[in-house]
Symmetry: C2
Subunit: 283 residues, 2 copies
């Protein structure tokens, strides 16, 4: 069991917002993550866990500081887990662009140099982070959900579709739904997985839905004034794929909202209530 | 009428979170401030205004990003106004310390060199900011409240006591209540007002309450685990002054909470409901 270092713990809405550091076997470096424990967890209960995956340029802090999620998690008795979005450090490959390298892990396991030694965020989230949470916090691991924003929405949707019995509830804010068909995704998948597009399918939500739809309803909020909507996000491709495969999806276009945390905080309560409802019904 | 420059406007909880810049006659430099307009303001209503004054090292952004206040303001139909905490710029005097100079205006009008040309945050908030808000936004200026954190709690309490007919409701998170009796205050008042302590009384809440208590109830939340509690904040001095003067005060000591925005966000809803309740009863 890897040792967990507590960076900080602060009381918030009757629970505790903490930041932690641990060694990741998958990434080969120390990783940071945040956990919010609701009051019920401090009183001895094992509580459902909802993991939030952030977007490009973020760290484990953005959602914690800006989303206003702790209030709702406190009320609903949900544990919130927020990992960093990539490995970091001097020994970790990087790129000057904001959409590749550190800050842009895309929740996949890279196979190409120079990325493959450390860029293994798929294994990190599903293995190392999962172990750290289950071993150090009062998590009811039979009741887990996952959600995320933009690149993290891509991560949440793909992780749910690959592990529907682990991440039983799923939602996303302005997700990248078809990385094989947008500039952000094509750039990252080429770099991390190589030019052969066949292995890309394993990390593309619209492709995964064709081969393995889940029983869950995908709750998606998308700002209609999001400047990335047409060029990068393309939620219509998700809806098409869901209709073809019989996957339930609830895409809510939100007039006037952009890609920011002002958008996320406006609808985070709906998402957490969605997760709590699904997880409460999970036996 | 000074021209208002819009820096950004983003939809949030059905309203608009904006950041603006304008020339301040009092400070002699451009100043930035934030305004949240609730949905009712966008639909044509004149709405009550609650101004939040931030603490040391903050800007107009901290409360906007971290407090989670827009959700409640949206529901209650309150406009939120957040100024910066000091004048800034190359021509503005500064100090290396975090608790003097830029980022530490203490909501007073300085009389001493090198501070007096620009450090006039008392006049800025009560005159320039007030004018910018009333002239550019649908503010019901007969119904205004004020609150703040730490140095900004000091600002809110003193501005209310000096202008009880303008700032009719008041509250504070972990306020400096007796700057004449704490290191932060003694340092700032000496620098900005000079060594003669007599003019200091005009900016000390416990002193103002002796001479001019208000009819309002001062709602104060204070974290019991706040590391600044004993050395700087000393809420017991406020309670003593209130008891002696017949000033209503509701001091709530919150076990386990520190001085951070995790504390503020946990209780901001209570504060906004307090302001809305007082302002709704204001004719």
């Amino acid at each position: 069991m890897a040792q967990l270092e507590t960076i900080s713990e602060q009381k918030c809405f009757g629970g505790v917002q903490g930041f932690y550091r641990h060694r990741s076997a998958a990434c080969g470096v120390d990783m940071r993550f945040a956990v919010y424990q609701p009051p019920s967890a401090l009183e001895g209960a094992r509580v459902p866990v909802v993991t939030f995956l952030s977007g490009l340029t973020c760290t484990e802090e953005n959602f914690v500081v800006k989303a206003g999620a702790q209030r709702v998690a406190s009320e609903l008795g949900l544990m919130l887990v927020c990992p960093d979005v990539s490995p970091r450090g001097e020994e970790v490959a990087d790129d000057e662009a904001y959409d590749l390298g550190q800050g842009a892990g895309f929740y996949l396991d890279a196979t190409q140099a120079p990325w493959s030694p450390h860029y293994r965020m798929y294994s990190y989230v599903t293995e190392d982070l999962a172990a750290a949470v289950s071993q150090n916090f009062p998590a009811d691991t039979a009741r887990q959900g996952i959600f995320g924003h933009s690149m993290g929405g891509h991560g949440a949707l793909t992780l749910h579709l690959k592990h529907p019995d682990v991440y039983r509830s799923v939602s996303a804010f302005a997700p990248i739904v078809a990385p094989m068909c947008c500039p952000w995704g094509e750039k990252a998948l080429t770099a991390y997985l190589g030019p052969d597009r066949e292995p890309w399918r394993d990390y593309d939500t619209t492709e995964l839905i064709k081969s393995r739809p889940s029983q869950a309803t995908l709750l998606i909020d998308q700002g209609a004034a999001d400047t990335f909507l047409e060029g990068q996000l393309k939620p219509e491709l998700l809806v098409e794929a869901c209709e073809a495969a019989g996957q339930h999806v609830d895409l809510r276009m939100q007039p006037g909202y952009d890609h920011s945390y002002y958008f996320i905080q406006s609808f985070v309560e709906d998402h957490l209530r969605h997760h709590a409802s699904v997880l409460a019904a999970t036996s």
